[in-house]
């Protein structure tokens, strides 16, 4: 319906718009906002606690020589993320960070005990033919943990329970 207050004003109406109102069309699409964790199960606090426990588990595993723990943690994370209805864009950074934090914590622990981990990092980088910077060896080490965790996550999600969309 036309707005009566605008009748008689310049530009208030156009030819062909004085009849019955046009049929209602589709409503405009709602604006898209990314949903990081819509509808996940369990409280975020518990999930965070689980991540910390996983990082600690990975760190202890590294210190006792179980280098494949990041993969197993990723695998478990994959299954859990399916169960918990976490999206990949949330689960992937989470397991990668947890794995890297686990191995990083192991290195940190050794350094705290007085071992010259920084100097050794430089040696490892040099022997590997990489730029002889401690940060390079540390980054590659954490990357190895992260790659394992990512592969494990993929496998876990592939094998994990399927839920209806949502």
């Amino acid at each position: 319906m036309a707005d009566l207050r605008r009748l008689g004003r310049r530009g208030s109406y156009r030819l062909g718009r004085l009849g019955a109102p046009p049929p209602a069309g589709k409503p405009p699409a709602a604006p898209h906002y990314p949903a990081w964790a819509p509808g996940h199960r369990g409280s975020a606090g518990l999930w965070l606690l689980a991540c910390l426990a996983a990082a600690a588990f990975i760190a202890v595993g590294a210190l006792v020589g179980s280098w494949a723990i990041p993969f197993l943690a990723g695998l478990a994370g994959g299954v859990a993320s399916r169960h918990g209805r976490w999206r990949l864009r949330v689960a992937l950074p989470a397991v990668v960070l947890v794995a890297a934090a686990g191995w990083g914590a192991a290195l940190w622990w050794l350094a705290l005990r007085g071992l010259p981990e920084g100097a050794v990092a430089r040696v490892i980088a040099a022997l590997a033919g990489l730029p002889a910077q401690a940060a390079v060896a540390i980054a590659v080490t954490l990357l190895v943990a992260a790659i394992q965790a990512a592969a494990g996550l993929w496998l876990g999600r592939a094998l994990g329970p399927r839920h209806p969309a949502g």
């Binding site: 590294a62 210190l63 006792v64 020589g65 179980s66 280098w67 494949a68 993969f71 191995w103 192991a106 290195l107 050794l110 007085g114 071992l115 010259p116 981990e117 100097a119 050794v120 990092a121 430089r122 040696v123 490892i124 980088a125 040099a126 022997l127 590997a128 033919g129 002889a132 060896a137 590659v140 080490t141 190895v144 790659i147 394992q148 592969a151 494990g152 993929w154 496998l155 999600r157 592939a158 094998l159 399927r162």
Partner: protein, 852 residues
């Protein structure tokens, strides 16, 4: 369907990732294991911690042993018997130098590729062909298990294995093992003897006859022997001036020669005087030259420093009026490839009957250079020809055979399988004739008769030297030394000094040994110089004896010991040492130290005056005049800040090139086949340095100054031209005024890591010195060889020595350790550290108690 695909893809990728991280692929190590913070390469951090006092249990010890460390990690071992002392030494070597020991062992045993991958294969094939492992096994087979050497080797190996067991149980390996996943195997006495072989190869194995073959084929025999004569012109400053006595030929010890060299053993009965080689029968055919090039290509692929190239070590002693506050004094600075860690590990050993302090070689029991309670000694390389090549007569109709002494003989064959990391194993079959291993069958089947392949009881000799009380015992002990031939310089607490060039000097009755010789029998090694006739002196009347790798005996010496191209030092360093010592009296250790650190280049002192005279006869540009002014009044010191030094060095290289370059070019000398042995450059061809110096001062119209087919030239004209070239070179390289052309802007020292990882080495760092200074720097503008240990020992009284020494680097090979390079600054600045006393105890903050 999509889910199945997803599961399969995830499984596949997971398996691939796990397999890659668990097993590695090709050159990529097993990254999961390698970088596991708890058990991979990171565990080497434990070895980087500062050492602290502790008690350790070492299986195999009979009694408790104490080890005291100085603040620089120099250890003093006190044990109740020899076996415990050597076991403790093996443990210390392994704990602080395992990577170095294992890499040397791999080099000698042809197992580099197992660690380094296909890149190490050429080295492995060369070493297995040459036969260090075969020789070490023969040496061990000839060693009585109850002899001092046998017992020392067994105890030492046990100590190394004690550490390997500890590392295996704790997982705390050096980084290179954690990273590659290839761990060292158990240590055996044969491994120690292989290391002895590696050292012998570095000091004694040369390819000079192969270079001669190529030079003779290209330059022609006349020019080759004129420019690379047996005896070079000039002053050689021999330490043994004679008179000499011809005592005929001594046999090669049958018990040693038989396992490897049946032919030489059979020649053992030969007697009679041999003043030198007979008339040459060697024909250098294209096939012989091709074989020479093929063998040179093998050695070209070896790691730097693997075979002998540079002649620089110094050792001297003085007594009587030459010294003050002491009855005698000795100085030694062996020049070897400079690496981090160093080839040396400093140690003091104490047990009943054994009190010795000095430097040891990781992998070997005993002290190689040092002093005990009564005598001190140091070594320089004798440089005599110890490598002879033989061209074998073969026939296509008789595969696997060669003709020798009138009959066809079957070659002995030895097969090896070489593991290659990241690749399939390689197989190698080595043919062996009476002369030695066949090094190539390209062109002409050629074998090598190398004195280093004769089992040599070096360890037994060194243990006897470690215990000697006087010169008679010292000299008697060295009678058994065969290879590498070394000049042993001596000083004792009674005020006596001396030197002996111990070792085998092979002699032939026929042929030119500096060329590949026919292998049909007539030119075989007939024996060696009798021990009584090798160069030696005892208490010389001038109260000084000095060796700096110069020819040890004078021109009238009745035996052939090598040519001018066989790396005898031109004598410039020896001349400087003698000039410094003979001109003084009442010297103290500080005076010896000043000589060890001398940067005076006597060749420069000899050549600069005629150069300046030549320049006065020509027109110089303003820049050339400024450059020439630098040389006026220059004392020949190759100081880092000296522009004259840079100008001199550049000039000498350009001068050599201006004289010999046209001849090399016209003859098409294939320099690329062996740059070290064929290229015209300073020090590469010490013979050319000597003949050119001689012509410049005594024969300036020598025909060699006129290039082939070119105009007539004389030395002054060529010097002016070379000087102009040098100034242009430096102007283009360093720019600015000639006074700014400091030698340190051109010349550096570098200490590569034994792991070959560039970042773990030291340098390059700007440095003074050159190959002809007493404080020598070898290897070109980036020197990698020089004084590897500086030591001075004074004997103020009976049984009382004061020793000081330093080497570049540190006691630990772990780059994370505070003992990795803590002595570098002292070495660089010319400071010395007190040596632990022989039989005493180093005062230090760390004490280990080793328990059985």
């Amino acid at each position: 369907m999509g889910r199945v695909f997803n599961v399969l893809a995830a499984l596949l990728v997971s398996a691939a990732v796990l397999a890659l991280f668990a097993l590695g692929y090709g050159p990529v190590p097993a990254l999961g294991r390698a970088l596991d913070p708890g058990h991979g390469a990171w565990t080497s951090a434990a070895g980087g911690q500062p050492a602290h006092s502790q008690a350790l249990s070492l299986p195999g010890l009979a009694h408790p042993v104490t080890v005291a460390f100085t603040s620089h990690g120099v250890a003093s071992i006190r044990a109740a018997d020899d076996a415990d002392a050597f076991l403790a030494l093996g443990y210390l070597h392994a704990r602080f130098r395992l990577t170095e020991m294992d890499l040397e062992r791999r080099l000698g045993e042809g197992r580099v590729a197992q660690l380094a991958g296909p890149a190490g294969l050429s080295s492995d094939k060369f070493e297995l062909r040459l036969g260090l492992l075969r020789t070490a096994r023969a040496e061990w087979a000839a060693t009585s298990r109850t002899s001092p050497a046998g017992q020392a080797l067994i105890a030492y190996s046990r100590g190394v294995n004690d550490y390997l067991a500890q590392a295996s149980s704790s997982g705390e390996w050096p980084s290179i093992y954690g990273l590659t996943g290839v761990y060292p195997g158990r240590w055996t006495p044969v491994d120690s003897l292989v290391l002895q072989g590696v050292l012998t190869q570095q000091l004694d194995y040369t390819t000079t006859p192969l270079d001669y073959a190529i030079l003779e084929r290209t330059l022609g025999p006349a020019h080759t022997m004129a420019w690379f004569p047996v005896l070079a012109p000039g002053q050689h400053n021999p330490y043994d001036p004679g008179p000499y006595k011809d005592r005929g030929i001594a046999p090669i010890a049958p018990q040693a020669g038989q396992p490897v060299l049946a032919a030489t053993a059979s020649a053992g009965a030969v007697k009679g005087p041999v003043a030198g080689p007979g008339p040459g029968s060697n024909r250098i055919t294209p096939q012989v030259a091709a074989a020479a090039a093929a063998i040179l290509a093998q050695t070209d692929a070896l790691p730097a420093g693997t075979i002998h190239q540079y002649p620089d070590s110094n050792a001297w002693a003085a007594n009587g009026p030459k010294v003050a506050g002491a009855k005698s004094m000795l100085a030694g600075d062996p020049h070897l490839p400079q690496t981090v860690p160093s080839i040396w590990y400093q140690i003091a050993l104490s047990a009943p009957g054994l009190s010795v302090t000095g430097v040891s070689v990781p992998g070997l029991p005993g002290v190689l250079i040092g002093h005990n309670a009564h005598i001190a000694w140091s070594l320089t390389d004798t440089q005599n020809q110890a490598t002879l090549f033989y061209t074998e007569r073969t026939s296509k109709s008789r595969p696997g055979q060669y003709f020798w002494r009138g009959a066809w003989r079957r070659m002995r064959q030895v097969s090896y399988t070489i593991p290659v990391r990241g690749g399939s194993a390689a197989h190698l079959t080595v043919d062996i004739t009476v002369h030695g291993p066949v090094m190539t069958q390209a062109g002409q089947t050629t074998s090598v008769d190398w004195m280093g392949n004769i089992p040599s009881p070096d360890l037994a000799v060194m243990l006897a030297v470690n215990r000697a009380h006087d010169f008679a015992q010292f000299r008697a002990a060295l009678a058994g030394w065969r290879a590498p031939s070394q000049n042993f310089v001596y000083a004792d607490d009674q005020g006596n000094i001396g030197a002996i060039s111990a070792g085998y000097y092979p002699l032939v009755r026929h042929g030119d040994p500096w060329l590949p010789m026919p292998g049909t029998g007539a030119d075989d090694v007939a024996g060696v110089i009798p021990y009584a006739s090798v160069p030696q002196v005892y208490d010389p009347p001038r109260h000084v004896v000095a060796t700096a790798n110069q020819r040890p005996a004078g021109p009238s010496y009745p035996y052939y010991i090598g040519t001018s191209a066989n790396f005898f030092d031109p004598g410039y360093r020896a001349g400087e040492i003698y000039a410094s010592l003979q001109g003084r009296s009442r010297m103290h250790p500080a005076d010896f130290a000043a000589v060890q650190l001398s940067l005076t280049d006597r060749l420069a002192q000899q050549i600069v005056p005629p150069l300046l005279a030549a320049l006065r006869g020509g027109h110089l540009t303003a820049r050339q005049q400024a450059a020439a002014a630098l040389l006026h009044g220059w004392n020949g010191a190759m100081a880092q800040s000296s522009a004259a030094a840079a100008l001199w060095w550049t000039f000498w290289g350009d001068y050599l090139d201006a004289v010999f370059g046209p001849w090399w070019k016209a003859a098409k000398v294939p320099v690329h086949k062996d740059r070290a042995g064929l290229a015209v450059s300073p020090q590469n061809q010490v013979s050319l340095d000597q003949v050119l110096a001689e012509w410049t001062t005594a024969d300036p119209a020598n025909s060699a100054f006129s290039p082939p087919g070119g105009p007539h030239r004389t030395a002054p004209a060529v010097m002016r031209s070379a000087f102009a070239t040098a100034v242009a070179h430096l102007g283009a390289t360093l720019h600015g005024a000639p006074s700014s052309w400091a030698w340190g802007r051109l010349h550096f020292r570098q200490f590569p890591s034994v792991t070959q990882a560039p970042a773990l080495g030291y340098g390059p760092r700007a440095s003074g010195a050159d190959p002809w200074t007493v404080d020598a720097a070898d290897g070109g503008l980036v020197s990698h060889q020089g004084p590897s240990w500086r030591m001075i020992v004074a004997w103020p009284g009976h049984g009382t020595a004061t020793g000081e020494g330093v080497y570049p680097g540190g006691q630990s090979e772990n780059p994370a350790s505070p003992w990795y390079s803590d002595q570098m600054a002292d070495w660089w600045d010319g400071r010395y550290l007190p040596m632990p006393p022989a039989g005493g105890y180093a005062a230090g903050p760390v004490l280990w108690s080793l328990r059985p």
